[in-house]
């Protein structure tokens, strides 16, 4: 399967097979006008199968938040058809409005306009807690 290589943009590689659309939704890529490809079940030496997203545009979003979905994702930044940066997203310290607090006793349950903010409380255990009620985020 051939996809044109991109000039200026981002390649999000090593997405666990089947998770590509989740990343697509998470970054809200549907709103972009640039050319873009979501490749599903590409073969991978390392992973067997993987998903890849290629975006032909410089994205103005915090890609580190992808670390919450999967820290094994690789992010490649492409400028003038050359890869200038390659990194794994780190687990973000806080994530805002990506997951919602499910605790019915939490203040977010009654105040609709409040942002749902979770803070990383244990990096080893990949544990996030609501900044308001301290409930653990359920994946």
């Amino acid at each position: 399967m051939n996809i044109d290589s991109i000039k200026n943009g981002i390649v999000i590689d090593h997405i666990k097979a089947g998770q590509g659309m989740k990343v697509y939704d998470f970054l809200d890529l549907g709103k972009l006008n640039c050319s873009m490809a979501v490749i599903q079940n590409a073969s991978s030496n390392k992973m067997g199968k993987k998903d890849i997203i290629k975006i032909d545009s410089a994205l103005d979003v915090d890609l580190n938040a992808l670390g919450y979905i999967d820290p094994n994702i690789t992010i490649n930044i492409i400028q003038d058809s050359v890869r200038v940066m390659k990194y794994h997203p780190e687990l973000p310290e806080t994530i805002t409005n990506i997951i919602r607090c499910k605790n019915p006793r939490c203040i977010t349950s009654t105040e609709q306009q409040l942002p749902h903010v979770f803070r990383l409380t244990d990096r080893q255990k990949d544990e996030y807690r609501c900044v308001y009620c301290e409930s653990r985020a359920s994946r």
Partner: protein
């Protein structure tokens, strides 16, 4: 500017300083009589808690300050659907410090992000209640003269009682402290509360029988076993009496035991015990005023 939302907002040194200030207030109350003159405390009680509110208000009056606020949501703008953020921004125009109680967990955190004056959490649902824990610590210090080397019994609902969890957390940093956790199986301390005990190698035992452990205790902290915590009525009826402190049970305890209770009490401590010098729950309520005075002074950065 500082807010006190949970005990984690205070360092160990600061807790010791608050206790020391409270002790000084008890010795020389006159010295503090004008300390907060022309300052106003807003007590924003989105759910009623007369005891806690009166304690805060008495504290502010004894510092020479003034008090304004509301005692339940229905008499506040929250009943009209105003957000916590907007209420706080408004109140900050009128008050120098805020004590806030709210039925929802985390509401004081929301308040603190919008406040231009210090916010004290006076209880957010069953979540945090730092001034209760400070009250408990001051009481132990006054009754025992120390924290070290005490055997602390906690009895009743240890599953949902956050006050108990917070006290365990605060006490386990003192050397030689040992905990005896007495509760029905259904209401045992959740495992996350035991983590600091295990990590700090703090000795503890769990038991379902109060009488058998009473002779060991220096402190007995009683809490209420509530009917609604049980799945069926039979279990509640079967268990409730075993966690009621009576003079007969107390006969097994040390002469130097201190009996504590966050109040209000329903029936978990027999009223016959009130006259016993070991009953210190009403002194504990009084201590709540002193520690809140110390906390208000600290947050308003008033030095006496």
């Amino acid at each position: 500017m500082r807010h006190i939302i949970s005990m984690a907002d205070l360092t160990v040194t600061e807790i010791d300083e608050l206790i020391a200030t409270s002790q000084d207030i008890i010795i020389s109350p006159v010295k503090y009589r004008e300390a907060c003159r022309y300052k106003k405390l807003a007590t924003l009680f989105f759910e009623p808690s007369t005891r806690t509110r009166l304690s805060f208000e008495a504290a502010m009056y004894e510092l020479g300050g003034q008090v304004l606020g509301f005692s339940e949501a229905s008499s506040s703008s929250a009943a009209k659907g105003e957000s916590v953020a907007d209420t706080i921004r408004t109140v900050c125009c009128y008050a120098d410090i805020i004590a806030m109680r709210h039925p929802k967990e985390g509401a004081p955190t929301v308040a603190a992000t919008h406040a231009s004056v210090p916010v004290i959490n006076a209880g957010d649902g069953g979540h945090n209640h730092p001034t209760q824990t400070l009250t408990d610590l001051l009481t132990i210090k006054l009754e025992k003269g120390r924290f070290e080397g005490l055997t602390v019994g906690l009895c009743g609902d240890l599953k949902f009682g956050r006050t108990v969890h917070s006290l365990v957390h605060a006490m386990c940093r003192y050397p030689g402290v040992r905990f005896v956790l007495v509760s029905p199986e259904e209401l045992k301390v959740p495992s996350y509360v035991k983590i600091p005990l295990k990590e700090g190698s703090v000795p503890y035992e769990q038991n379902t029988d109060l009488v058998s452990v009473l002779p060991e205790l220096d402190i007995l902290y009683m809490t209420r076993v509530q009917r609604e915590r049980f799945f069926n009525e039979d279990d509640y009826v079967r268990l409730k009496d075993s966690y009621i402190l009576t003079p007969e049970k107390l006969a097994h305890a040390k002469a130097g035991l201190s009996i504590m209770h966050p109040l209000p009490r329903v029936n978990e401590i027999s009223t016959e015990i009130d006259q016993d010098p070991r009953a210190c729950y009403f002194r504990q309520a009084l201590n709540g005023k002193f520690i809140r005075m110390a906390l208000i002074l600290k947050l308003l950065e008033v030095s006496v």
